[in-house]
Symmetry: C2
Subunit: 441 residues, 2 copies
């Protein structure tokens, strides 16, 4: 390992450091508000108030009710609760869900989805999801599919990595309960037309009698973990019914995520216990983490616009330079509708000495080579770093959308994800590019 | 609220403050080891090493393999994974579980439990559990029961709050997959004969052919959240197959729990995603929290014996004084086999002015009255504070074990839990007792 001071971190999509202002606020809370928010005494009440204040701070930014904000331990947990909790709620009386502080025993008068089950067949909830979602979305859905608990329509992106709202429109049917589309992709940074998709869903609902019965399926789940630092992710703006954010992606606390669940959603918990978070997510509340999350979200949104502009410039500068100066490179995903901090380059025909050991492993060798030279970048998402044999399924999906002639390009295992962050300077990118040129030459 | 400096906190069973040494170690880690442990680069590798070091530190104390330690977000989550994950693994090929870093796709040669299903009937896993477990144990089990996914034998304690190993022995049968008994009760502090229960289970296994087929059911799940500060909770010592601890009960980090899963256990995940923690618990690992947990556990065990002695003296002093000086009081749970920090007193016939508004609400009024006078104590567990209408189910269970003549005592809604901790001094207890005398007189 080189001199630590000289290392350049360009993997902010994997994780962000904890902002010092967030850390400071958490340390302060830790001293005075460490009690259990469920306790009846003053210490408990003060902790509870602090927790609820954090919830209000978050709701203010997301334009939702504070009672619609649920704290979890991660984006992964939030996504699992959203997906498994909505599907599991099927076949149970409407309103047995735990949102809004309703006790689990609460049963509303509203009918359940089975009133709409196709005649003669058993009820199986239907999910629509893009093929390029994060594994925390795809894996719980694959689990439901495997178990026969859901049927699933997988929607492929176009070659620029964008999901067409019309392709979702075509798939919505009577038993569709959930549509899960990420706001921005974690690998190639493409920003999906969330508002248009919300419009398609709204239109379907307006024409569908389920609305009249208080069953406003399908629900729209938006994973906004990657976009929140750069885009307005308010519930209102996006038109989402369920929204997921993660502290580690916003320079915030580890082990804290949120799930926003709109008031009208029918959802049941995945895990059970003391009934905290309105029964949807049991376990003693992490007050310190919740406050840290609120602070991080405030900082991210407050500085978001300015930082977006700064990073967009840096991103475009670097992309242009790489494509121009390094032969046989191409950009994965379109340049339009792309996160300001995301660069994902396909190095298709690298012929460097140790780099073509075996077809499809180039990404990994590039990451490791750059690492030894002082740069932290990644091949695909961090979650798949350790199982990259198959390459990136996200890049494979956009390659499949291309004309057959170029299908042999194999970018899925020859690409680098370079993601910028608050500490990234132009000189860092210059340094990376000149190093890349030497490796690739 | 009184002057903040003068308040006395005696509710350490609900939560403990973060030890300054733990906070310091976490702050240190936060600065240098904030990367994603799944990343391939040096930053990721360093975070991964730090995480694995924390796992090793914990394993050393619990006398298990580090690969048997899984990080979660809470005791509640750990207990849910243990219970739902073991039951859900039934009917799936043995070894589809995710422990030991095995990929989820791994399928061993070993047969599944259905080979032992009673002829003619469908396979339903059987669980044995005490009636005085924490809600994070009882609620997932009740869920399985309600869904028809498990049958359950509930074991009542004797009047001293102790579970008789023989009563468990009687209930073990062919399809028993899980036996869940807490090490120490969170309300009345009674310590269960875990080793004897482990012996009963071991004996059953030795006589049962399932062992020969590599199916070592039933598994023994021990919730040691409350006991770990005062008792040796090593896997070896207790004879547990699954063990649960929580950071908030050991002066440690919020949002961090662990689940120890012995190597031979068949278990599947409850939530899905990037496949972290050997696939058993997806979601980016909380390195800072893991290190804080390891530090807190080390401190708790290192100082455990001395602190146990100190608190036992204080506890016995206070119990004796209360029972002697306050009329109509009794101790809930026996004095033997009791946590050093737990005092749980029944105030059976309080006649104070505002205290007998309604039968069964005395506990709550006492807690609130004491709170206004500067003391933080609790009625039952914090998790049930906000739904105390029905009183404590733990105290109700030990009352039911008494002779019928005293059944009318209603201690379940007339008791106080007073739990001591590292900052508790004798003068705090003297002060509490003299205040109690004034209230009760």
């Amino acid at each position: 390992m080189k001199n630590k001071e000289k290392r350049i971190f360009l993997d902010y999509a994997a994780i962000t450091p904890v902002d010092l202002r967030v850390a400071k606020e958490m340390t302060k809370i830790q001293k005075d508000f460490w009690a259990n928010p469920s306790s009846l005494h003053t210490e408990g009440e003060r902790a509870k108030n602090m927790l609820e204040e954090a919830r209000i701070r978050i709701a203010r930014i997301l334009h939702c009710k504070s009672s619609e904000v649920f704290f979890t331990a991660s984006g992964t947990e939030s996504l699992n609760i959203a997906i498994l909790g909505v599907v599991k709620s099927q076949g149970q009386p409407f309103g047995t869900g735990a949102v809004q502080g309703l006790p689990l025993a609460f049963v509303s008068q509203r009918s359940s989805l089975k009133d709409f089950a196709p005649k003669g067949g058993p009820l199986i909830p239907h999910i629509i999801v893009s093929t390029i979602e994060h594994s925390a979305v795809l894996e719980p859905i694959k689990y439901l599919l495997k178990e026969g608990k859901a049927e699933v329509s997988f929607i492929a992106p176009n070659e620029k990595g964008i999901i067409n709202p019309d392709s979702i429109k075509k798939e919505i049917k009577e038993n569709t309960v959930l549509i899960a589309i990420q706001h921005a992709n974690n690998e190639i940074g493409t920003i999906q037309p969330i508002q248009k998709i919300a419009g398609v869903i709204r239109e379907y609902k307006q024409k569908n009698p389920r609305v009249a019965l208080g069953q406003n399926y399908p629900y729209f789940l938006v994973d906004a973990c990657q976009s929140v630092c750069y885009e307005d992710v308010s519930i209102e703006k996006l038109g989402a019914d369920l929204l997921v954010l993660d502290g580690i992606k916003i320079y915030g606390p580890r082990g804290v995520g949120i799930l926003v669940v709109k008031r009208v959603i029918n959802i049941v918990p995945v895990m059970f216990g003391g009934g905290q978070e309105g029964g949807l997510r049991s376990g003693t509340e992490n007050v310190i983490g919740a406050v840290g999350f609120a602070k991080a979200l405030e900082l991210a949104r407050r500085g978001g616009e300015k930082e977006s502009k700064r990073l967009t410039k840096l991103r475009d500068y670097a992309i242009k330079k790489i494509l121009k100066e390094i032969p046989n490179t191409s950009l994965n995903g379109g340049l339009e509708n792309r996160l300001p901090n995301n660069i994902n380059i396909c190095f298709q025909s690298i012929q460097g000495e140790s780099l073509v050991r075996k077809e499809g492993l180039d990404s990994e060798f590039l990451v490791i080579k750059l690492d030894t030279l002082g740069f932290a970048v990644s091949a695909a998402s961090a979650c798949h770093s350790l199982s990259l044999e198959n390459g990136s399924y996200v890049i494979e999906a956009i390659e499949n959308a291309r004309s057959t002639s170029s299908k042999s390009s194999k970018c899925s295992s020859s690409s680098l994800r370079i993601t910028l962050g608050r500490n990234t300077k132009k000189s860092d990118l210059d340094s990376l590019i000149s190093t890349l040129k030497k490796i690739v030459k």
